[in-house]
């Protein structure tokens, strides 16, 4: 995607492309995703990437990355657009996954079609989003942080401790693979998953984009800007926030179902609080509020974390490069996350791939300062 942009830069036709794109954004998104979907496999075959792992492994990795792209997109609705800090987002991921486990596994004896389960998973997750949000979204923003954090802790505990219904820590295994007419999903062939994931991500992106541009999206933005003013202009702040919450949750539901179907196992240890923090990091580093930003952010970070860091270890180790071979980069990954989060907030708060609006907003420290002084002055008047 960025590569494409890069090559087009300076090209006179760029403006026409841009204007067309802005006129038909949904189309543009679909086009971009198709391009990305075609470019990635090619990228994976050129050095240095081709040296890291074989094409199929890359493709498998990409569809896993897709899961996190979905999660990041969903969390972005909550954190980036509506400005609510959700620290227990993995809980909805878990709920979606377990929904699939109940809908399609030997354990439950049910076997509903995959597409249906996608919907169901999203719906169930959304329901729990409402259940959690409804009583707590009335609270001040910071309280929401702790409540969601708590929820994120509780959900895995519940799945862990109610053995009778979830097989506890063993998890529910042998889940059925997706069954879509004409496509055969096998564990050794990552391509169907890859395509499926591309489709899901594209659809989700288009939908989210449209909502973001609608009156609902404006309402989210307004609440993020100034909750009281929003309420005083007729917005039901709680319903609006709740909608963001539910949409975010349902996106996580999608991701959960897909992931469960690909893994063929759900177990409580997949959904710890570290997952929530990792997703948050992806959203922040990618650029809150900008769907392309978070999507790219999630994709890049996941790939770095899963592939590059480990390859660095192997590379330096095998070639016995002095100092470097003793460093376990994977070990330091969370240290890197932490540093990235801090530095990013300090020096580039708008993220790696910011949305213009967010950039203005987050860059506005000084503006905020002067404004508040103006206000103070007026209080004196």
């Amino acid at each position: 995607m960025t590569a494409l942009r890069g090559r087009l830069a300076g090209n006179p036709t760029i403006d026409q492309v841009r204007s067309f794109a802005s006129a038909h954004r949904s189309l543009a998104i679909v086009a971009a995703m198709v391009v990305a979907g075609l470019i990635l496999p090619i990228l994976a075959q050129v050095p240095p990437f081709s040296g890291f792992q074989s094409l199929d492994v890359w493709i498998g990795g990409f569809s896993n990355a897709g899961v996190f792209v979905l999660l990041a997109l969903g969390l972005n609705i909550v954190v980036g657009l509506a400005g609510l800090l959700d620290l227990g987002y993995a809980a909805f991921f878990a709920i979606g996954a377990y929904a699939y486990a109940y809908g399609s596994s030997p354990f439950s004896g049910q076997h509903f079609p995959f597409i249906l389960m996608l919907m169901v998973g999203a719906l169930v997750a959304a329901t729990f989003g409402v259940l959690l949000g409804a009583p707590t979204l009335r609270l001040r923003g910071d309280y929401l942080a702790i409540v969601t954090l708590g929820f994120g802790e509780i959900v895995p505990i519940v799945f862990l401790n109610s053995d009778k219904y979830t097989q506890g820590t063993n998890g529910i295994g042998g889940l059925y693979k997706p069954e879509i007419p004409g496509v055969e999903f096998t564990l050794l062939n990552p391509w169907p998953f890859y395509v499926l994931m591309l489709v899901i991500v594209t659809i989700v992106m288009v939908l989210i984009y449209r909502v973001q541009e609608s009156r609902i999206g404006r309402a989210w933005m307004a609440i993020r800007e100034d909750e009281l003013a929003a309420a005083s202009n007729g917005l039901n702040t709680v319903t609006t926030k709740l909608l963001a919450f539910a949409l975010g949750a349902s996106t996580a539901g999608f991701a959960g179902v897909f992931n469960a179907a690909k893994l063929t196992l759900v177990s409580p240890d997949q959904f710890g609080s570290t997952v929530s923090f990792a997703i948050l990091a992806m959203v922040v580093l990618g650029g809150m509020g900008n769907i392309w930003g978070v999507a790219l952010g999630a994709f890049v970070i996941y790939t770095i974390q899963i592939v590059i860091l480990k390859q660095l270890n192997a590379f330096f180790g095998d070639n016995h490069i002095p100092i470097l071979q003793d460093i376990n980069f994977v070990q330091y990954q969370f240290l890197l996350y932490g540093l990235a989060l801090v530095l990013m907030m300090l020096f580039r708060p708008e993220g790696l791939f910011p949305s213009q609006r967010r950039k203005r907003e987050l860059r506005a420290h000084d503006a905020a300062a002067t404004e508040s002084e103006a206000v103070a002055a007026m209080d004196q008047a």
């Binding site: 259940l131 409804a134 009281l228 929003a230 005083s232 907003e361």
Partner: protein
Amino acid sequence: MSGQPGVPDDTPPVEVLAEKALVEPEDIPREVLAEDAAAVLATAASSAEAGTSGLILNATNVTKRFGGLIAVNDVSFTVPEGAIVSLIGPNGAGKTTFFNIIAGIYDPTSGRIAVRDRTMVARPIRAWLEPVLWVAPAVVVGLISAIVVAAANSETIGFLGAAVTLAALVAMLLSAIARPDWYQRLLLRLGIFRSARPNDMVKAGIGRTFQNIRLFQNMTAEENVLVGMHIKLKATLIDAMFSTPRNQREEAAARARAEELLNLVGLRGVGGELAKNLPYGDQRRLEVARALASDPSLLLLDEPAAGMNPRETSDMMALINKLRTELGLTILLIEHDMKVVMGISDRVTVLDHGERIAEGTPDEVRRDPRVIEAYLGAPAS
């Protein structure tokens, strides 16, 4: 400012540290509160359309305390249809607090506020019962299904029961948030009264501006107005997601309307500007346009001329007159600058130290010795 949304800048600060947070002074005699409550419950049920007295707004014995200090003390106050009424007084007279009570931001400590003879704001009555109400149906359903399950002891019925219980809970929570009429009536029947939220007041036809401009700084002027129009727009999530023709039509119409409003307040051609980049005077105008977007019948203007130079001020006064003559709005105005209001007001009420010290036509008020005395200490800016 760092202050959290929900508390305007000039309220007495929230006690953050140590013991003071425990203070809840309640030296208002029980029986007063009791008859208050009776009156509220009696007048809260009437439908909003009715309105026999021709009063668009009727505040009765409103008192508000913060911790120890009395911000508003037993103020009664009415606004007839179609009038321009001003509420004036020196700094700290409690004007804005009173305003915020009318706008549904605070509950008064005692007294009540009726819009078209329907009480919408008062001290909450048995508010603690409301959460119980949310849970009650779920509990009942849960118990019943539990019994059924125990009797039939079948897994499926068990899950069914659980689902129904969950549904009941979700339904109650959602209606608690959306506050449909049946829910409000239910509340009243149970003797529960909760003041209307700010957004309910907007629904009831009251628009407002703020003393310290509270625009959505990082949204464009047009977007600000569109947010103000939010309750007038009907597009649902589905409309937005699949960008239905209906949605597109509505959006187009809304933008046209926004354009009109901007022109009306004299902001031609700045629709694309970020609110925070507008000059101070224009920001105030934009706030007015945003307030107008919800087609209010009563417009609350909080020091519309604050911090303006004489030219801007006179323009603002002209605009206010125009609103009354062209849109037939009723206007309630707060000022501490007597000179400003005298020109345009039909009636003027003067507050000092939270008490109403005078009311009448501008001339009567101007001559009132107590008013003069109140203002001697604090000459108008």
